[in-house]
């Protein structure tokens, strides 16, 4: 796949792939990201992977655009996507009414029963396209089309930490109490902000949600782990 490398200020470059969100583009971003991480290239300070791009911060006394172009070329030639390992994290969600504050809207718009909504949402495997926004937030792909509903017209000033929402083709968990406009269908007792300090969920990982009762929510005996599901 083609990519374009351009100067992004005086100490960063942007490597852009095709202008779309897709697994195909994600695979290319991930190949480059993993390749850049594997080797300590002199002058590369940090790498921010996203849906269809990588932002590379560099030390301008040690590296320039030309040098970065040859690094990227080398990595893209050498890293095979199939050689990369995959991991999965399972996150408990309580979908009961006390947490699913937008249940009625979701039922009206999807024309599904709540059992169906829960079953569809918790049976898909979601791809972590990227991390960003705030620590612990995962940009997930792979939501079943039957659950595509628009976000709220007016965002709520405060969404409780752990709330899981739907917004068009996206689903995701708020890792902290912040304002937001997603339709809330449940809540996890897992503190994703705290979890992000010990379990490093990576772009390219997979997430599965499993339903729990409100009693299990209260007990909160969950310690999600990153489990290897492919490769080594």
């Amino acid at each position: 796949m083609n990519y374009n490398i351009s100067q992004y200020g005086d100490s960063a470059v942007l490597i852009q792939f095709k202008n779309e969100i897709s697994y195909e583009v994600h695979h290319e971003v991930r190949r480059l990201y993993e390749g850049l991480r594997k080797q300590a290239f002199k002058g590369v300070k940090a790498v921010i992977p996203a849906y269809n791009s990588i932002t590379l911060l560099y030390e301008s006394t040690l590296l320039n655009l030309k040098g970065i172009k040859s690094i990227v070329k080398e990595v893209m030639q050498n890293i095979d996507y199939n050689s990369l390992s995959s991991y999965q994290i399972e996150i408990p969600i309580c979908y009961e009414s006390s947490f699913a504050i937008d249940k009625e809207t979701v039922l009206n718009q999807t024309k599904l029963s709540w059992e169906e909504v829960v079953s569809i949402h918790s049976s898909s495997q979601y791809l972590v396209y990227m991390l960003g926004f705030v620590p612990g937030f995962l940009y997930l792909g792979g939501l079943d089309e039957r659950l595509f509903i628009p976000r709220l017209d007016e965002p709520r000033l405060k969404v409780e930490s752990g709330s899981i929402g739907l917004a068009s083709n996206q689903t995701g968990v708020y890792p902290m109490a912040i304002s937001g406009g997603w339709q809330i269908i449940g809540r996890t007792p897992v503190d994703l902000l705290e979890l992000s300090k010990t379990v490093k969920i990576e772009m390219g990982d997979f997430v599965k949600f499993f339903p729990i009762t409100s009693d299990e929510y209260k007990l909160n005996k969950y310690q999600p782990k990153r489990m290897l599901i492919h490769g080594n």
Binding site: Q7, D10, A46, G132, F133, S196
Partner: protein
Amino acid sequence: MEIEVLNPGVSTTIQDLGRVNGLAYGVPYGGAMDRASAVLGNVVLGNPISNPIFECTLVGGDYLFKGSGHICISGAPFFVRLNDESIPYNTKVKVVKGDVLTVKSGEIGRYLYVSIKGRLEADEYWGSYSTYEVARSGGYKGRSLKKGDVLRVKKGSTLTYISKFQTPVIENPVIRWSKGPEYHDFSTVDLKLMDNRQLNVSNDSNRMGYRVDGLKLKGTSTGNIISSGTFKGVIQVPNSGIPIVLMSDSPSTGGYPRLGVVLKEDLDQLAQVKPGGAFKFQYVEL
């Protein structure tokens, strides 16, 4: 030595030079808003430049020293007193048990730094001691200081003592910027509006970003972009048409068109512009 917070001012946090390891995980760079002044304080005291320091915003507050040691004030030229006597900037100053440091706001500038000889104890988060309040992590308990907090300073490694420096706090700075990834999606009218015009840092500005008052751009015809990497210095233009310069606690990704990027060298000067303070942009080709 210990330092007790008698009055924390508007917002005083512990900062260092920030973190790069978390950018792929949504963790901002963080760190001192005016890096040059932060480095300067540590250099004057002979500390490693990345040692944690106090970053006082606009009104610094009052601090009681419960032991003896050395401090250095750097950054914004505020009203600073040690037991009612003025003390010099960018200079090693001796403090003894019972001394009280008072910091009040000044005519210009936004961030003042108090560095302490030795090593100020702080919590680590992703390899840095910078406070990141959004994640309640780093620095002192992941928050800005409160009355009654007691911070400890340990003996640290000693480097060379250097004496005189210039801080980046000036009136009406000219902030140079270069092309961002979506620069070419903006109209020539918008691009013309940016430069040689008196602008102000909005009151609605903080460690995450500075909104620019005095400009309303039309924006791009393509609108928001697919979320992509951002960092300190990036000039984003949301739908409102009012540009925002991302600062130290900038989210690591964003979806607004990125018109430009402020030159790294000019970031400390911009950081020091007060809410309502004036500056100008100037475009440069790299």
